[in-house]
Symmetry: C2
Subunit: 333 residues, 2 copies
């Protein structure tokens, strides 16, 4: 799949809600959902409606807000959770279950065969009760799971023909792109299923890992605005957009209202009570600043000399430092 | 080379000085150099002593401060600049020149053959005048340069046996790891030279690109504290450390005083008049926070369940949210 055709599954309203400072009101969630839709995102994930009464009501409100595209509920592999989620009217269920030895031990305590049994049971239940709702199953902590265990989860589930897509998560954010390329590539070849990648950013590779996933068979990428999520978060929406834009400017501009991106990020930052980092990809305040004289002189001649991204496409302007001793360097050449 | 053996060439005092908000005093530069050395960095790059009188004096002060390891001066490919740099007593010269068609046109206007001629001329001059000073030549904007042009620069220069190392720069920060792996791998195979990678972060791949460079033959990586540099910066020191630590905790702890890293970052942020981003790898305030109940419960059982990096190794503590509606989820299970 060409990079710029990848489906962005934004999870600001699920993973982003798990950001330590986030405490989105119901109104804020609807506002974020609308802003993401206005920007061009066509797939939103929300917190499990089984998590709390508010989560249920919020999922219902977002699912019935008339947004273009799909609203999915994140759910654990329990029929009860799935039933509650289905009642909210969402168009997709995103099932998740831990697969790595360490996380299975620390969370659900089940064997790999049990993971398969539980996922199959929920999928059968959903297929019967709501044939049109799409079903994704994802492995939490897949990158600390032996490949054999991982394939022992996905291969039997693929046989069942109950799932629309498989997810795979780098839950502790320590994978590197070569590893993601290997594992996603293998999963894609062995199952021939659409694949969704979810990657945390603990060692700073979440954007590149998403890129590696797509170039090795993934069709869907999880993002959140500013990467908001557990710990320091996941692949930021802005980062994914920058990668897509760098690969295919026209294709990306056709799908997204790029000039709405900075405002969307500012607004979500405000709601999450954080400042937009000065160095955030695309939307940080220094993203289009130039300082050394050798840079500023060249940028006056041709901005593309030191810019891979055109700030105007994002409704932004560049900042050029003048009068600093480094700026003057080139003048004395 | 094992990932954790890579040489970190920190350029906070050169690239970081090109950060739009940075205006480091001479005292601050010495303080940063000492703090980087205390942390364990053994290779520092400073701004060209030809840039201004202050740059010359600062380079001299840092070169003679008795720091362990090497202090290198960044220089353009001009014998005059090299002569001024040598007079400061630095142990290495880092020559740089633009190679891509677009940047050659917008900056020096020279042909590829001229780039080779000028680099060779300066290297000969330095070798004669200061035989013990090490010499690195780097291509600015190498990733927008046709591979044939690039090899037409490096291959004849390698023949001369005047250089200790070649650098290669992703100046506009739009390369992805697969591309870096290809180009660095080729350069390494064709020249058999030590390779240094310098990568900007415009599309968010700078950490992963540095990782791809090392796993494909690079021996040296340029970093700066918080990634400070032109635009939104380069591979952050913290990011590179996180990648090394994830691959080899013991080896990385043996080389660096990891618990000094958060303080180093906070101090440089203060001097550069920016806030440490909330989501910065390792040192952002949320890097070790846990919120959803399914996470917090597992982390109480075993922190490694949701942590690839141990905060205690960095002198940090984790933060666990309690009492939020998402935190309560697991309790009602
Ligand atoms: O549903 C998923 O794929 C990911 C769940 C999650 O947030 C994680 O594993 O980090
Ligand atoms: O000296 C180098 O390798 C890099 C110069 C630089 O800052 C860049 O090209 O971005
Ligand atoms: Cu996650
Ligand atoms: Cu640079």
């Amino acid at each position: 799949m060409p990079l710029s055709d990848v489906v962005i599954v934004d999870t600001t309203l699920r993973e982003g809600e798990q950001f330590i400072h986030a405490d989105f009101s119901s109104e804020s969630k609807l506002e974020i959902a609308r802003a993401l839709s206005d920007f061009g995102v066509r797939y939103l994930e929300v917190t499990s409606p089984a998590a709390s009464r508010r989560s249920r009501e919020d999922a219902q409100a977002i699912a019935s807000a008339g947004l273009p595209g799909t609203v999915a509920a994140h759910v654990r592999c329990h029929p009860d959770d799935a039933a509650i989620a289905l009642d909210t009217g969402v168009g997709a269920l995103h099932m998740v279950m831990a697969t790595s030895p360490i996380l299975r031990a620390a969370s659900h305590g089940k064997a790999i065969s049990e993971v398969v049994r539980m996922a199959a049971e929920v999928a059968e239940f959903v297929r019967k009760r709501a044939p049109d709702v799409s079903i994704r199953f994802s492995s939490e902590d897949a990158f600390r799971c032996p490949l054999s265990d991982l394939m022992n989860v996905y291969l039997p589930l693929a046989e069942l023909k109950l799932f629309d897509r498989f997810g795979i998560a780098d839950t502790t954010g320590a994978a590197t792109p070569d590893r993601v390329a290997d594992v996603v590539g293998l999963l894609h070849r062995l199952t021939a299923m659409p694949i969704e990648f979810h990657g945390h950013n603990d060692i700073g590779c979440a954007v590149a890992n998403a890129h590696a996933a797509v170039t090795n068979g993934a069709t869907h990428i999880n993002t959140s605005v500013l990467g908001l999520g557990e710990r320091n978060g996941i692949t930021p929406l802005e980062g994914m957009i920058a990668v897509m834009y760098a690969a295919d400017r026209a294709g990306t501009m056709a799908r997204f209202r790029l000039d709405a991106l900075p405002g969307l990020c500012r607004r979500v930052a405000e709601l999450a009570e954080v400042a937009v980092p000065f160095n955030q990809v695309l939307v940080g305040e220094t993203a289009f600043s130039h300082k050394a004289g050798i840079h500023t002189k060249a940028v006056y001649n041709d901005p593309r000399a030191y810019e891979a991204l055109d700030p105007a496409d994002f409704g932004l302007t560049r900042e050029i430092a003048i009068g600093h001793r480094l700026t003057g360097w080139n003048a004395v050449r």
